[in-house]
Amino acid sequence: MHCLVERIAQVMMLAIFVFVILYKFIKATSGAPVPTIRALPPLDAIKEAIGRAVEMGRPVHHSMGMSQLTSGASETLVSAAVLEYVAGLTANTGADLIVTIRHPEVLPVAQEIVRVAYVKAGKPEAYKPSMIRYLSSTQWSYVAGAMGIMQREKVAANILIGSFAAESILLSEAGNRIGAMQIGGGSGFGGNLAFLAVCCDYCLYADEMYAARAYLTKDPIQIAGISAQDIYKLFVLGLLIIGLLLYRYTDWLYKILSI
């Protein structure tokens, strides 16, 4: 009985969220005014970082993070969205781009993103498959390879937006040692966001990462999705407060619901 109530509650919560998102999407496509996302300095800084790389004549390094497409895909796809933006900028400015990959199934995705970005910029001949480097599937082998690339090539900009674990401190410190401008971002799972926050010049925290694509593309549908998320967060917060008050002041109801 308890299991059934739980499942029904989950379906209702999901249905409410889907309804809110679809409502926002429909409003966005019908030409209603689009809400604005507050400034996200780490994403604004990407342009500055790439400009700096062009001036110094040194490459830009973008890491796709530690996750795959079958596990932790959302963070990988956020990194892919940022890569699309970064590749567009490097194509337009002529900066060298190095993308390091940990999982082989992410490799064709990254290659396609960068290739399409260079084609869209009108510079298909500037795209080289060697820009995207699969290093190793194992965590520390990847880190050793990425640190080696950063230090040998003396990257001027180091973009670490995605899923990172303990290697975040090695990657960001390696960037610090060569004087690279660093932009980090993580979802906050596993507590390794703290390393990026301390060592990077700019950092996206938790949910800010999922707003990256909306912020960079200014697509009304994407922004509508972020707006729906914020509304739902307030709804969840309201439920939490109501639940807390009920738990505190209505013991009898809690006992019934616990059966």
């Binding site: 079958t70 993103i113 610090n176 990462m209 694509r213 999705g225």
Partner: protein, 212 residues
């Protein structure tokens, strides 16, 4: 020509994503045998694809490093030879003798495990330099961060907490109360973000995985 265009279009991967998601969601809320059987097959396929991905990675490594050796890429080609030799050594011994063989075990424990641990241990050196260089009380927030960091480190210092047990109490309180609260908030908001992101993927509004 129309068929070729359809095959090359990005609609097929999107359709596959939607269909599979529907079955996986349906299995959770409506676990009838027909849905369960289809979901089981989907899971089996994904495990097989994951296994093939490992092979893809090895093939890519061989290709890239063979090119480095061929072109005598400066500073890199000797290490490319070492990489290919090690890759073939592990592969050969694993395939011919099996991964339980003492030779494979020896290679793993005395080569891979030790090198891996050595790279992992670099963290400590980088942490100490970042502590010295970056962890300064530049603002109220960074000051609070440093105070919390100190109490957390005291909690992990057995000699100190045996003399001053209240340091363990403070460190544990920081872990159990403010940390748990913030992590809870991060988990909830990130989960909402992931659901929204997944919905955008299902509706075709997020196409990064298709290279768009």
């Amino acid at each position: 020509m129309m068929y070729l265009a359809f095959i090359k279009s990005k609609q097929i991967p999107l359709a596959i994503t939607v269909i599979i998601t529907i079955f996986m969601l349906l299995e959770y809320y409506y676990p009838e045998p027909i849905v369960k059987n289809i979901s089981k097959d989907i899971r089996d396929w994904s495990v097989i694809i994951a296994a093939f991905a490992l092979g893809l990675g090895a093939a890519n490594l061989l290709r890239v490093h063979s090119q480095n050796i061929q072109r005598r890429t400066k500073d890199i080609w000797p290490f490319s030879i070492l990489l290919i030799f090690t890759l073939l050594l592990f592969f050969g011994i694993g395939v011919i003798f099996g991964i339980e063989h003492p030779a494979y075990n020896w290679l793993y424990v005395n080569g891979y495990l030790i090198l891996y641990s050595a790279v992992f241990s670099l963290i400590s050196f980088y942490v100490i330099t970042s502590f010295y260089r970056a962890m300064s009380v530049r603002s109220l927030e960074s000051g609070l961060l440093i105070v919390c960091a100190i109490f957390s480190m005291f909690r992990n210092t057995p000699a100190v907490i045996s003399i001053f047990p209240y340091l363990d109490t403070i460190g544990s309180w920081l872990l159990d109360v403010p940390n748990a609260g913030v992590e809870r908030a991060a988990i909830i908001t990130t989960a909402i973000g992931v659901i929204a992101f997944s919905l955008r993927v299902l509706l075709g509004r997020e196409r990064a995985q298709l290279g768009e």
